[in-house]
């Protein structure tokens, strides 16, 4: 259980595994740190993290985005990330990665191109931000590391799946 940095022509990809959903989120955060810097000193205070989203994949995307946002505004690199995830009722047993469909398609309209339906194309309502994450990270001051800048998290080729052995995820970061 952990992560590997995978080759990508221009950017950096992280493949991560974990026994639980929380573990795989934390492993991806470790991968993001490793893609940015080879070693971090043992300094820095912990700070809290809180994210909510409408689906499991969106929660992962927003969680990684939050780490980059906190990095830039706190001027600290978030490492040793710990998370606790609250799953909406009835969604905890998805073994098939079906979370990617949650909250994305209201199924109301096939013609999302006409602009008129834009307000209706979401199931919004009850499931909006139903997936929540709380946690914390240790913020290592940026001026004590020579870190490279990861610009953003991407949805490109993103995978977040439960397997017999636990959770697997693959995320491409823009560098």
């Amino acid at each position: 259980m952990g992560f590997e940095l995978r080759a990508h022509t221009a950017d950096v990809a992280v493949f991560a595994t974990g026994e639980t959903l929380e573990d795989v989120f934390a492993s991806l955060a470790d991968g993001l740190a490793a893609a940015s810097c080879d070693a971090f000193p043992a300094e820095g205070e912990r700070f809290p993290l809180a994210v909510s989203a409408e689906s499991r994949e969106a929660l992962l995307f927003d969680f990684l985005d939050e780490l980059l946002f906190q990095r830039d505004v706190r001027l600290e690199f978030p490492i040793d990330v710990q998370v606790s995830i609250t799953i909406p009722e009835g969604r905890g047993d998805g073994v098939d990665g079906s979370a990617s469909e949650d909250g994305v398609d209201g199924g109301s309209s096939e013609d999302g191109v006409d602009g008129g339906s834009s307000e209706d194309g979401v199931d919004g309502g009850a499931d909006e931000d139903a997936w929540t994450l709380e946690g914390s990270a240790r913020g290592v001051p940026l001026d004590s590391v020579d870190a490279r800048e990861v610009k953003a998290v991407t949805y490109s080729e993103m995978r977040l799946e439960e397997r017999a052995s636990g959770w697997e995820a693959y995320v491409v970061f823009d560098v």
Binding site: T9, A10, D62, D105, D114, L142, D146, M158
Partner: protein, 486 residues
């Protein structure tokens, strides 16, 4: 008809350097690759062609999705991709612009020659490295509050002019005079503004750099003179973008689109192609936010220009005006712009998306700044830190072949992970200094390894294709003298 087979995909050779994947399956239009066979072989090695084919599924895409000669795999839309979507019935796609909105390059000329700099490279590279904020958390030339960020978002380089960081000629030598119409700061989120507030006038890291170069060749004396370029001259190239503000803006709109246009997104083969239907509220909001981020990037490069002028004045003991440090031009690599193009004899309003591609409007085009209208828009194509860069001028064929676009660089060939296995930053730096008299200074040795010259394609070949196709003509070639990066 000659064909090229690439892992299950067959490209047909339309004519020299023009290859086409015919429309099939879910493709909305054909896909085209502009490349020599050598470049096409490299392009076919990663997922570039698959991503280009996916891009043809974006609503309202017109004629074809095009990959420039330096194209490579990105996320969603390939890097080096150009797609023109109908501005009434198509879409506007943050994914097809990319995270680093208006990442781009500018060139500043000087009246120094290589002889003036020879022997002083170390002093110059140290002074630039000291003065130019770079790397992660390196701050900015201006560190300010959200209120000032909003002014910059609205006014672009005009803000820099008012505050003494620019002169009037800088505006005349920038697309849209450094102020994009339709910029709407209120459409940029507070998160994005907060990320940007400490990064105004900063390089960042990755492939961004500031390079002092010498002009080695002027291929076209007439255009070269119009651009103020001559052999042996020292010029400065600055490559950076809209920093965290732009990255956050793209991120925020991808998520808004995911929430509001799920049914459109579900029909696209890659979630990162996220697009808002033309005419929708989100398309208008993203256009306002993107234009504001474009202004931010211009100011970012302008503040670095200002610092560079100060460093040169210090090192060479003359004012920067005396050193004639004029902005030649500033080009954007990652943007979408509403432009009018002729399609099948009709004038059409299109959102032209250029992701890792440079606008290359030819002589006479009304949107080329007056200073260059008779010769065509300058196009600046950086090579790696161990190879030449090029100045081109926009060519007439670009209007037919590429919606007025050409390449943006050498294009990556090798992954960053592989580069760090193959290269060691200190060795790369020493080899460049001893072998080619190029002085490199970086915050991180790993960045030097990741950006080693060997990870890039052959920029000479990229430019040869652009020149032969007539989309961007060779004007001059430059070679690195000093390079700083994050």
């Amino acid at each position: 008809m000659a064909t090229f087979d690439a892992d299950g995909l067959t490209l047909e050779r339309i004519r020299e350097f023009v290859w086409e994947i015919p429309r099939q399956g879910e493709m909305g239009v054909p896909a085209r690759v502009l490349a020599s066979e050598a470049l096409l072989e490299q392009i076919a090695e990663d997922k570039t062609l698959e991503q280009l084919r996916n891009a043809t599924q974006l609503p309202g895409i017109t004629n074809y999705a095009v990959c420039m000669p330096d194209g490579h795999q990105g996320y969603g839309f390939p890097v080096g991709g150009v797609g023109a979507m109908d501005a009434e019935e198509g879409c506007l796609s943050p994914g097809a612009v990319g995270y680093d909105i208006n990442c781009g390059v500018r060139m500043v000329t000087t009246n120094l020659t290589y002889a003036d700099v020879r022997g002083r490279e170390e002093e110059l590279v140290d002074a630039l490295f000291e003065a130019i904020p770079s790397g992660l958390g390196g701050g900015g030339v201006v560190e300010t509050d959200v209120g000032t960020v909003e002014e910059i978002l609205a006014r672009g380089v005009d803000w820099a002019l008012e505050h003494g960081y620019a002169v009037a000629s800088d505006l005349r030598h920038c697309e849209d005079e450094g102020m994009r119409a339709g910029a709407d700061p209120s459409m940029v989120t507070q998160r994005a503004k907060e990320r940007g507030a400490t990064q105004i006038g900063s390089l960042g890291s990755g492939n961004h750099f500031l390079e002092v170069q010498r002009v080695t060749d002027v291929f076209d004396e007439t255009v070269g003179a119009a651009y103020g370029l001559s052999a042996d001259q020292i010029v400065i190239l600055i490559h950076t973008g809209s920093r965290g503000l732009g990255h956050q803006t793209c991120t925020d709109y991808l998520r808004k689109i995911e929430r509001e246009h799920g049914s459109l997104l579900a029909r696209l083969p890659d979630k990162e192609l996220a697009a808002a239907p033309a005419g929708s509220r989100l398309a208008d909001e993203y256009y306002g936010a993107m234009n504001a981020a474009i202004n931010f990037a211009w100011v970012n490069r302008q503040l670095l220009t200002h610092r560079t002028r100060e460093v040169f004045a210090d090192v060479f003991g003359r004012s920067w005006e005396t050193l004639e440090m004029d902005l030649l031009y500033d080009v954007a690599h990652n943007i979408a712009k509403r432009e009018t193009h002729t399609v099948d004899g009709e004038q059409r309003d299109l959102y032209v998306h250029r992701k890792g591609a440079t606008r290359a409007f030819p002589a006479g085009h009304p949107e080329v700044p007056r200073a260059y209208r008779e010769v065509g828009q300058p196009v600046i194509i950086p090579g790696s830190m161990g190879a030449g860069s090029y100045v081109l001028c926009g060519g007439a064929a670009s209007m037919d072949l590429t919606f007025g676009s050409t390449a943006h660089g050498a294009g990556r060939l090798m992954s960053r992970t592989q580069a760090k296995r193959d290269y060691w930053g200190e060795d790369v730096r020493d080899d460049l200094r001893e072998g080619q008299a190029i002085y490199v200074k970086a915050q991180s040795g790993a960045t030097v390894a990741e950006e080693a010259p060997g990870v890039y394609k052959d920029v000479d070949e990229v430019v040869r294709v652009s020149d032969a196709l007539g989309i961007g003509h060779r004007v001059a070639r430059t070679f690195p003298v000093c390079n700083i990066k994050g």
